[in-house]
Symmetry: C2
């Protein structure tokens, strides 16, 4: 099956793609609801901070990471009600990283998801505290929230996976490499390393956190999911870089060409657009191949990989 024929966006009228599109929409609605229920109310002090937290998390975004949690859960037959805490936690970490990355001292972005960034809508101090609060709320949910398996060992594994993915070996380290790369000439390997940490680690965590919620998962399936997650994590970021070069601001909801304007090395700027597309499709194929293992419903994860690679925003 070619990449194009498996395109799920825009949703087709019938067939498995249409049913996945509906499933994806369902997960996106679910995570919006579950996040909203877990964020602090603006009726509680400090209300301005709580307002900024809700502003930064709710009302938009593709919800790639939490939908990956649910899709992995669907592949493994885990009830969604046991995945909500993990789905929310990984999205809160992502949301905090966006708020902090947008700050003037970092990427200095004014627009996010078609709206003013947190520090523009509120102020810088509030944006710093929003990120700090979202990060800690993620770990609080994994420790205490009802929407996860009751077994403390499972929950601790969730904390571990999310923490490793977010720290200096993962997302925060990737952002540091990204900032250090501005104006420098990197190799393709350097850019991959940066992407693997900055974006790949959290995508990987989303898949593996769901896997950690499955009782009695075989080592073979665990490893297959690791391969899958690593491949889509990098493919996703290459597509992000390509969209930054080629995308339409009205569709993406943030400024395009931002990386070029900041003189940031990206996959296409280092490897060229054509090579980037090839690398992305190679990773996509590797992700699909990883799913060919018994005991796993490949369909939802294959469709997720299609979506992430073929998306236009």
């Amino acid at each position: 099956m070619s990449l194009q024929s498996r395109l799920i966006e825009p949703p087709l009228a019938e067939g498995p793609q249409a049913s996945f599109a509906a499933q994806l929409k369902g997960w996106q609605a679910r995570i919006e609801h579950e996040l909203s229920a877990r964020l602090p109310s603006i009726d509680v002090q400090p209300s301005r901070l709580h307002e900024a937290i809700r502003y930064s998390v709710l009302g938009g975004g593709k919800r790639v990471r939490p939908t990956l949690v649910y899709a992995t859960g669907a592949a493994l037959g885990i009830p969604e009600s046991n995945l909500d805490a993990a789905a929310c936690a990984v999205e809160l970490i992502h949301a905090y990283s966006l708020v902090h990355d947008d700050l003037p001292a970092m990427d200095n972005d004014d627009l996010r998801r078609g709206r003013p960034t947190c520090h523009k809508a509120f102020d810088e101090a509030t944006a710093i505290l929003v990120g700090d609060s979202l990060q800690v709320l993620a770990f609080e949910l994994l420790a205490s929230d009802a929407g996860a398996p009751a077994d403390p060992a499972v929950r601790l594994k969730l904390v571990q996976l999310l923490a490793v993915a977010s720290g200096t070996n993962g997302m925060a380290g990737g952002q540091a490499l990204d900032l250090a790369a501005i104006g420098r000439k990197l190799s393709v390997a350097d850019v991959e390393e940066m992407h693997v940490r900055k974006t790949g680690a959290l995508i990987h965590a989303a898949v593996m956190m769901a896997a950690a919620c499955a009782p009695h998962l075989s080592e073979t399936i665990w490893r297959a999911l690791e391969d899958y997650a690593r491949a889509i994590g990098l493919a996703f970021q290459i597509q992000d870089d390509l969209l930054d070069v080629e995308g339409d601001v009205a569709v993406i909801g943030k400024a395009t060409g931002a990386d070029r304007a900041l003189d940031k090395p990206t996959y296409p700027s280092v490897a060229g657009v054509e090579t980037s597309r090839q690398r992305m499709q190679e990773l996509h194929a590797r992700a699909l191949a990883a799913l060919e293992v018994s005991g796993l419903q490949a369909a939802p994860l294959a469709a997720m990989s299609d979506w992430l690679v073929l998306r236009k925003y």
Copy 2:
């Protein structure tokens, strides 16, 4: 015993005070060592971020929170090797909060522990990432580090206690109230609420995390420690406010009068210096009274309360 006769700073030549001073010094040396062993090496990429992390955490500070972990452990007979992860985690959260609070958008401080603040010694983007990385490292240690009881349920309780203390109901919320209070007129109750969240919550967590590491702790001792922790948390911050009014910059290692300069309401500015001193001593007495419960070695915690209330920096 009067407050003055129990003064442990400067250390006396003999008697129980001298032995506590030696114990305190031992814990301070221990935490320095344990932190250093757990912080990422500057030989590993991203090395500048790792350097800034080590700069921000090591080489100074009273180590109030980790020494409280060890003191509570001593009161309950817990081996120090089972407390290192909790002691490090609570200090990492404290260290992250200092780095972020010092940022220009927050309190805009140039000096901390007698040295340039992180964003002055490095840059703002690095300081933001240092705080983010320290926060996540704290939770990683609680999930994975050898220096905690093996029982996943205990570790999960540690995550829970630290997360609640750090979030919008605790430290981050307290900092938001603190920023919102600049230039406003607060009541004594408002200032207490702000202090309880901003400083008290993490002090409370330090004591209760150690308590969570004790096997089979009675509900009575748990509650006694909660009362103790709440009392010293507020007393500690009132003393901080008093030192800001009266202290000596050379001893404290940061600018004094900073709260006044920022027009921040403090305990003395709202209640007056004399009332603040009385309130602090009342809390100190309450802390000591809480320790009068069987099954608890009161001495180390009583000495900690003395130290926190009578300290000059």
